[in-house]
Amino acid sequence: MRPAALPFVAQLYAALSALLLPAALRRAYGASMVDLFADLYREGWSTRGWRGGVRVVGREMASLLRTAWYERRKVSPSRPTGGSVDTDPAVTRAGRGFPDPDATGPRRRRAVLSGLLDDGREAFRAIVRNPAMSIAVVVILAVGIGANTAIFSVLNTVLLRPLPYPDADRIVQVLEFRDDRPEPRITQRVELFRAVRERAETLDAVSGYVAQLMNMTGVDEPVRVDGWAVTASMFPMLGASPALGRVFSVDEEMAGTEPVVVLSHALWQQHFGGDPEIVGRSVKLDGTIHTIVGVLQADFDFLGQKADLWTPLVLSATRREGGRPLRSLHMFARLRDDTSAASAEAELNAGLDALRENPLIDALYPGRLRLVPLKERLVGGLRTELWMLQGAVALVLLIACSNIANLLLGRGAARRKEIAMRTALGCSRRRLVGQLLIESSMLALLAAAVGVLLALWGARALIELSPDDVPRMESIGLDPDVLLFTVLVALGTGLGFGLAPALRATGFKLQEALSFASSTGTSLGQRRLGNALVVSQIALALTLAIGAGLVANSLTRLLWVDPGYDPDNVATLQIDLPSSRYGSGELHAAFYDRLLARVGELAEVEAAGVANTLPLFGAYMGGGFGIEGDPEPLSDEEVPMASFSLISPGYFEALGIPLLRGNGLGGEAARDRLPAVVVNQALVDVYFSGREAIGRRLRLGGDTELLEIVGVVGNVRRALAGDAEPTVYISHRRMPEFLESKRMLSFIFLVARTAGDPRTALPQIRDVAAAIDPELPVYDLLTMQQRTWASVARERFYATLLGLFSSVALLLVAAGIYGVIAYYVSQRIPEIGVRVALGAAPGDVFRLVVGRGMLLTASGIGFGIVGALAATRLLSGLLFAITPTDPATFVAVVGLFAAVAALALWQPAHRAMRVDPMVALRRE
């Protein structure tokens, strides 16, 4: 994204200088100035990145305004200038009293300030003369600018600011892309990692990590921590330095060394009280004692992920004691300074060809390795959505500008005499336009000041609202970049809403204006401009509102989806059973039995069950299976696939999943028939094509044991937006064996249906678990409704924001329509009087006014629909069960707009109907 912005900024500079500079200077040096600006801008970018660029733009724009202002005063006819060098104040300081833009230091500042104050006072007086109007303008703009600032603060933090790592743009992730798959393979085999680390010459600091959720004990209470096993090269690559102690050495990557751990600053503060003597102490992780060797700095961000602690990644052997061998890992590297990503990629793939002699690699890597910039990986997916939000708020601001331009157009007519007078006294049009623009810029800056306060509040609300998948959200704030953006937006806004009215107000035949001093003098051109502004407002707002309508509609559909279970009155929590202490199947079974029995005794609980997964949880385990009696599949693709859920008998009742046929897994009878399973309807539909499934027998994965299907239950959606997958429900008594064969992770969920509010039952259930084993971490105490709500966080975020923006836009539009039509009526009173006097009925007058308003509305809606058809495609990633051109949404939003327009027309139409012909004619 480096100087991609260059043409635009340079064009802006060119446009401003064309507008502001005196003709002579512009003709002789305008082009050179723009070139020079571009050079300085590039220099700013290359030395200080995005900040440097912004700094140059701000400085140059401000200086351009100063220069233009000074140069214009110098040549204005009211102030004589000497042609000779002696008296030219720019060359010498002989001509005191003139502000001198070339001077530096306090002297120049004073001079410029006094000059600005002159024009400012003038503008200020004009603003104060009409307080109601000025307040309206400031309020409308403050909302628009505030919203833009708030969204930009997010965009800036997430997308634009460089990542907080040294040479962050040289850090890449190694991914494998295959032609036949849209998504790349994210983790790479250890064999590949080793080979790349040894051979790749264009890559420095090849490093990797694997996630390892761990239980930490030996502190005040057992905690579940987000641990990461990282190679020693990871910390230097990310520029992480320890606040205490040290990070890992390369030796610690070897198997058999003493286990060590580095803590995050937050964990150190939270669970070790920030103990400065922490280094050298030890802590138990999944039952193994680890020595704490260091604590990282507070501001370290581990690739946007929640991280509590790190252990060395041992490549050669087992992942951790009792764990399975490490097979693959997330792989990162830093490009060497003298290589590009493309050439490093070419080298890597050439090397890969050589590596394919290793049969393992050959089989696993049919695709190409790609080096994807870290930033792309972390925030690339959010780019469209965040820019869409920025576009939406920009639309709101545009509507606000157009709205205010319309207000000012009306006022321009009122100020016509004042302006004509000044023109007659020798004020040039350029000068007048300039002063009107200073006036509108002052209003805009005032609004920006209010808007920044709104944005401060708004940014906080955004953080509250934001889904978890937006990284670095917590570091969002109003930094200088954002403030500079706001000021630039405000100045642009001042120009945006001020320019058309200013040109319009000053562009008339002098004599005409002075002689024809009637109060009804609005030109045809002015009305046309006003109409065009209203039409454009309606069109923009409609585009926005249709977008919001689609997202809201989609969210409603999502929340109304039947998930297949009853989420009301269900309490859930997660418990970890570390293999170090729950190594055997008997221990597991004993724990479940005690837990379920004790939880079942709680008065609040109606039914309870344990399971290895939960709807909406996100992680599922499954695999292939075979059906007894069916022919052996010919290829891998034809192997039947299903999710495997391990559940206790109460699970179906607790979640309210209906048993459609046969039996559940419970009851005394089940104990005798251990090899029994229940399947869901989706599995029957897909693999039994409607034939009777009960009584048939399945073989899971490579097992030899046959399991009999004893019942069929209803389908459950894994995610609200997803479909039900074929699922096999297996008795929880088999959990230990699934754990051993690594087909299940070491945590379980407890679900309980409660009589009353599940939130009151949750702490009781936790206490029961703690009473059985106080060392077990119990976490994520949530009701099923809370899980549902959390699962649509992203959709809610965008629906709320777009809804808010389009409501503001709709309000502005209503005000715009009202303003234009009310003004139209007030200008037309004599004409209406004549019509009424000539026999027009009130109904005719009503039709005239409403017809006019509706014509504007209809044109706006027409353009808006075209705009929406073009723009809503951007939303397709956010929509569920609805197309971006959903006719129902379009019709509903258009209907809403028509209704709002009708409401806005009501008062002016009534006023027109009450016109008394005598009064009206007398006014003429």
Binding site: M33, D39, E60, S63, T92, T104
Partner: protein, 123 residues
């Protein structure tokens, strides 16, 4: 063109531009860079101040636009050369500053180490 009065102080940009062009013909960007370097960033002109000053200096006959030197990096760029009038003005200003500094030294306002400290900030 009337000869400028040597007593009149020059503005900072005009003085610095003349100083930069005293021994070389340069284009706008290079002038800005040279000034920034010599003054350690204390004087950092913008595009508009530079060209506003250049416009006046050309008009006053202090400098003149010339063809770029051989091997000039960019034909689009406009090079400027100091004219005798400009040099005279620069000399007069430098001498005036020198005299001013001497007066300050005589009154012990600044230390009397004229040879090494030439008036600019060292920090």
């Amino acid at each position: 063109m009337k000869k400028p009065m040597p007593q009149s102080p020059l503005t900072v940009p005009v003085y610095q531009i003349l100083l930069t062009l005293a021994d070389q013909d340069l284009h706008g960007y290079a002038i800005i860079q040279d000034i920034r370097e010599r003054t350690r960033g204390e004087v950092d002109l913008t595009a508009s101040t530079l060209y506003a000053a250049v416009a006046r200096m050309v008009k006053a006959g202090m400098i003149v636009e010339v063809e770029g030197a051989d091997g000039a990096d960019d034909p689009r760029r406009r090079y400027y050369r100091i004219k005798p009038a400009g040099r005279e003005l620069l000399e007069a200003e430098a001498l005036r500053l020198e005299r001013s500094a001497q007066m300050a030294r005589d009154k012990n306002v600044i230390p009397a180490m004229a040879a090494t400290r030439s008036g600019g900030k060292r920090s």
